[in-house]
């Protein structure tokens, strides 16, 4: 999105936009972290390809959800209902799948997307057309989704549906792999959800970069008054960003179900904060107008890798991943703040 920031950096030799510079920092930190871990903890399997793909398998749902959230954040909003929606979708789909016996994979996917779409439409309408603060609207959405999930079922239930299980256990073998202790070559694998997540990342990358809607998101998030004067339909863009986020959360919730294969009210606790943290680490600015889908993708991986590295370092306390993640979040927020204020004074 260098076009948007070009007038700020016109006199500098190399105008790098905030989006690019934040992305570079994110990727550099992730690579440095991962390579260091691979060298230091090679005995714990960090150098094996499967370790990396497990990171993807674990976090496929979070990748999709964070991407949706990034879109809302680029447009200058926020959505904290994603965790609650994921829990609601998991509970609703499990109840549906266990009723259907044998079939119902597609209908449960539709159910998940439908729940996401309904939340997206309602929240989008309230935020864009009634001009209510997105934080409050989606806070209510989060409450509503979790409460609704509890009304459907307060128990944790496992999916006992064969057609669903066959999809959930699908493993896509890759040509790369590692040699195990017995000297046998083991192929690395991905779950179905990872393929969906990667497809979503690719599609959104194209959407943000080369479509009118995508550029409109940056314009609205950057400065909605100028966007309005440029002829962007600000309200519709905001509305659509929430709808898209809702749909992606629906899909992400389904992928979450594919991975955990059970439904519970307490599922996906703190997912909204994980997704926001991943977006921020990935270089999406909370003030809007700056962000990148690839960055969000790396942000989720960074978040996942922190957990693995902390464990490999022998810090067994359950509190370390949370504290490290928060420290990282703090670092990136201050970095963003410094970048913004530097720009203001320049």
């Amino acid at each position: 999105m260098s076009e948007l920031t070009v007038q700020n950096g016109a006199k500098r030799r190399e105008p790098t936009s905030d989006t690019t510079s934040l992305l570079i920092i994110t990727v550099a930190i992730f690579l440095a972290m991962y390579v260091t871990a691979a060298v230091l903890f090679s005995d714990k399997g960090f150098a094996k390809p499967q370790m990396f793909f497990n990171l993807l398998n674990e976090n496929a749902a979070l990748i999709i959800i964070s991407c949706g959230l990034s879109i809302v954040m680029i447009a200058g909003g926020i959505d904290i209902s994603v965790g609650g929606m994921t829990a609601l979708i998991s509970v609703a789909c499990v109840v549906h799948l266990n009723d259907m016996e044998g079939s119902g994979f597609l209908t449960s996917l539709l159910l998940a997307l439908g729940i996401g779409l309904a939340f997206g439409l309602l929240q989008g309408y309230l935020v864009a057309y009634l001009d209510i603060q997105p934080f409050i609207v989606t806070l209510a959405g989060m409450f509503f989704a979790r409460g609704q999930a509890a009304m459907i079922d307060t128990q944790t239930r496992t999916v006992v549906n064969e057609s669903f299980q066959s999809f959930a256990q699908m493993r896509i073998r890759l040509p790369i792999g590692s040699i195990n202790n017995n000297g046998v070559f083991v192929q690395a694998y991905m779950e179905l959800g990872v393929v969906i997540a990667l497809a979503v990342v690719a599609a959104l990358f194209v959407l943000l970069r080369w479509t009118n809607f995508g550029r409109g998101l940056y314009a609205v998030g950057g400065n909605k008054h100028s966007a309005l004067m440029l002829g962007v339909n600000v309200k519709r863009t905001k509305f659509l960003s929430h709808v898209l986020c809702g749909l992606l959360t629906g899909l992400g919730g389904f992928v979450f179900l594919l991975h955990v294969r059970s439904g519970a009210v307490t599922h996906a606790a703190g997912y909204e904060m994980d997704a926001i943290a991943a977006s921020i680490i990935g270089g999406t600015m909370l003030t809007g107008g700056v962000g990148n889908i690839i960055g969000t993708f790396i942000g989720v991986l960074t978040k996942g890798a922190i957990g693995n590295i902390v464990r490999a370092m022998g810090l067994v306390g359950s509190w370390w991943p949370g504290i490290t993640l928060a420290a990282m979040l703090c670092f990136f927020l201050i970095l963003q703040s410094v970048i913004t204020s530097r720009k203001r004074t320049a």
């Binding site: 509190w319 703090c330 927020l333």
Partner: protein
């Protein structure tokens, strides 16, 4: 009639009235108050109303801090629940240790730690200009892990006569002590608001950062102070929470209380984007929320499903208060000043004009101008 509708206390009082009316119609037994002997032999008052007052104590104290933060910074602190876990962990750790430190020392240290974390939030918001909700997201994420780190993942149980008196009842007094603590905090807050400029400064900064700077206030300091005050509130709440059961569960203590506190501020008729506030409104709002919770529980709604009902209340409230709906009503019934209603953030108004008008006359005159501007609003009930 018009004056009544404009009163900032209109929304909160109506809400509380509706909740009580609902109970009166469906379950008159809700209002019964009996006096019973508890298992230690003290006479105590029991009943739903007493339990509303008792359980709302924490929320009321947090609503005070949240109102000030909302007013000055235009955002909310979402880390309060997590910070209560930290402060509770500190208090518990000190009391459980073999140093034999008395309760006041432990509480003072707990409050200091909470204020330090409040200051951390305050620095992020005031110096680094990060939106409050995002800045407090850091401690929201880290708070409970830090708490479990402090206590080493353990939740020791403490039996202490002082804690028991604070968390339950003092021997001979039939009313639960947390009610008195909350009442004391409320009274203290009103005194502070009445005799200092704290509330006035917070509102000036919240209405317009720039205008407040022009009249000689330091927006950074004003915002920072609110977060430190919130830290103190958090410390007190942690003390009550620890006293109630003599222990904490760092993953569950004060869970979702930040959401309730924000809701209390909204329910109190305050704009969540900062500026003017009504402390009385927030406090009534806090009691209303506890009344809603108790009512739902009394009607055997599972506690996990409570949030769904609260969500509906939030949405109804914000929709009614939204600029688009206000403009619609103004058009419909031809309100006298449609321009002001249609003009986005409605929190500006007399205050800004007064500040802008006062700037020409130098700082002293400007502060007087602000005071005059806000004097029309009920600052502290």
């Amino acid at each position: 009639m018009k004056g009544l509708l404009k009163n900032p206390l209109f929304v909160p009082v109506i809400c509380l009235g509706l909740v009580l009316l609902f109970n009166l119609l469906t379950n008159p037994g809700f209002f019964e108050i009996s006096i019973k002997r508890n298992n230690v032999g003290n006479w105590i008052l029991a009943g739903n109303l007493i339990s509303v007052l008792n359980n709302a104590s924490e929320l009321v104290i947090l609503a005070i801090g949240m109102t000030l933060i909302t007013s000055a910074s235009g955002g909310q602190d979402i880390s309060v629940g997590a910070c209560v876990a930290i402060a509770g962990g500190v208090i518990l750790k000190i009391l459980a240790s073999k140093t034999g430190a008395p309760v006041p020392v432990a509480v003072a240290l707990g409050c200091l730690v909470a204020m330090a974390f409040g200051a951390f939030n305050g620095i992020l918001v005031s110096i680094f200009n990060i939106q409050p909700m995002v800045a407090t997201l850091i401690l929201f994420t880290a708070g409970r892990p830090i708490s479990s780190w402090i206590t080493g993942g353990l939740s020791p149980r403490i039996t202490n006569s002082v804690l028991d008196a604070v968390g339950n009842v003092i021997a001979g007094v039939p009313v639960p002590t947390p009610i008195f603590i909350a009442a004391f905090c409320v009274a203290f807050t009103f005194l502070v608001l009445r005799f200092t400029n704290l509330g006035l400064y917070a509102q000036s900064v919240g209405v317009s950062d720039k205008a407040a700077r022009l009249v000689g206030l330091s927006p950074r300091w004003v915002k920072f102070i609110q977060f430190v005050i919130m830290g103190l509130c958090v410390g007190l709440v942690a003390f009550i929470k620890v006293s109630r059961v003599g222990s904490i569960q760092y993953n569950y203590i004060a869970k979702d209380i930040e959401m309730d506190a924000i809701l209390a501020v909204a329910l109190g008729g305050n704009s969540l984007s900062g500026g003017r506030f009504s402390m009385t409104g927030s406090i009534i709002g806090a009691y209303t929320i506890q009344a809603i919770t108790t009512t739902l529980l009394a009607n055997s709604v599972p506690s996990d499903a409570l949030p769904a009902y609260k969500a509906i209340v939030i949405i109804l409230l914000v929709v009614i208060q939204s600029p688009a709906i206000k403009a619609f009503w103004a058009r419909r019934f031809g309100a006298s000043r449609p321009g002001r209603l249609a003009d986005g953030p409605g929190a500006t108004g007399p205050g800004v004009q007064a500040i802008a008008g006062g700037t020409a006359g130098g700082p002293a005159g400007a502060v007087a101008g602000t005071a005059a501007g806000n004097g029309r609003v009920e600052v502290a009930g």
